[in-house]
């Protein structure tokens, strides 16, 4: 089924404290058009970081969280992200929330669970405009894939084993879709169940594949936070993905 794959040109930069990896193949895999599109993608990610970073005290979201500005005084993109967060809270029964309870029980605005996928969906646009060029843009392990030719060679996305990041637990051929994985690897149990504020521990990682990264990233994080209820919740949303339990067992969700 597979033929010799065309050459892939790769680029890496670090933005928002995360690696941004780009793979291109086809007509504009390299050259000035690719350079310009890559620059535009990075500029978009840096802009998102300036506006939404909770690590930057002067970001609009940090100021919003401290009550120094109102939503109306922020860039319209902030309201858009807050709406996405509201929708995710509703659809997850409260397991996903951009207002996360801290150790002191006080809820703080932490929209990064929404922002990342949303930012990549925006950043990939100039790359998708490259004619006859296949694109795979990953930010910190979440990606948007696009194959120019409907029947072209798909990107083969490997899904990292959450308990042993040197291994893969699954692979999925992707032509035009987004893949997001939420898990406990690399940063420890950084996803919390917003209902309790406690770490999500029953599941080691959740990968979701779907049309856009904004929604699959949110759903992967939500399913992880839901723990034991995560796989059934994904099925109820007709999601496709992979769940790896804390004991290492893996399950395909369809």
């Amino acid at each position: 089924m597979s033929t010799a794959a065309p050459a892939v040109a790769r680029r890496v930069e670090h933005v928002m404290g995360m690696p941004v990896s780009l793979a291109l193949r086809g007509r504009h895999a390299s050259g000035p058009e690719a350079d310009a599109a890559w620059d535009a993608a990075l500029a978009e990610l840096r802009w998102v970081d300036e506006v939404f970073s909770t690590w930057r005290p002067d970001s609009q979201v940090s100021r919003l969280g401290r009550g120094e500005v109102t939503v109306d005084e922020c860039d319209p993109a902030v309201a858009e992200v807050l709406r996405l967060g509201d929708a995710a809270r509703a659809s997850s029964g409260g397991a996903f929330d951009i207002l996360l309870p801290g150790p002191d029980g006080v809820r703080r605005l932490e929209p990064s669970g929404v922002v990342k996928g949303w930012a990549v969906d925006r950043a990939v646009r100039p790359l998708l405009a490259l004619a006859d060029t296949d694109v795979c843009l990953s930010v910190g392990g979440d990606m948007v894939c696009h194959v120019a030719d409907d029947a072209g060679e798909p990107w083969l996305v490997g899904i990292e084993h959450p308990l042993d990041p040197t291994r893969l637990v699954a692979q999925v051929p992707v032509r035009r879709a987004a893949v997001a994985t939420s898990g406990t690897a690399h940063r420890g149990a950084h996803v919390v169940d917003a209902r309790t504020g406690g770490p999500a521990e029953a599941v080691a990682s959740v990968t979701v594949i779907g049309a856009d990264l904004t929604s699959v990233d949110i759903d992967a994080t939500t399913a992880l936070a839901l723990g034991l209820d995560g796989p059934q919740w994904l099925r109820s949303r007709l999601r496709t993905g992979v769940v790896v339990w804390a004991d290492g067992r893996a399950e395909v969700v369809v």
């Binding site: 392990g141 992707v174 994985t181 406990t184 690399h186 990968t207 395909v252």
Partner: protein, 181 residues
Amino acid sequence: MTGVKRIVLWVLSTLSTLVVLFGYHTSTSATMATATGSETAITGSVQGSGTGTTTSGSAPPDDGGSTSTGSSGSSSTGSGAGSSSGSSGSGTSVTGAVAQTRYGPVQVQVDLDGSTITDVSVLQYPDSDGRDIQIAQYALPQLIQQTLDSQSGSVSMISGATYTSQGYAQSLQSALDQAGL
């Protein structure tokens, strides 16, 4: 390109893992799900344990094929009625019966070498717009275990729990990026 090398991640699909053979979700909420509820109707699974391979499953109610359904791979409704025919060596080819979906008929064939799936072919696709618009987007994930044997895949990108820039240096993604393939 500088010496087009390839990192080939050799993988083995083991018996203890569930391999979903065929099934495509859609880019919208409309999927192939049928009366079976929230699970996609056209998915297949091959499951085994220890010795021997079991191919079983259920097909949509209006069909008696062996295209199995269910995410656990152990659905027991309906009986497998697909044809099984030997091929070279220890290889076996299993052809699922035609399953009717809302988008049209779907039929898959699985080639097995002992307990390992060597190939999955889709013999029949729906001809409707559903296929044209949606089936091409992505295939179902295949569970794998990286070993030095059997099935292989040339992975382009790694999806994992959020890497930070510090953690990236040790990641498989970093290895792929550095290999420049």
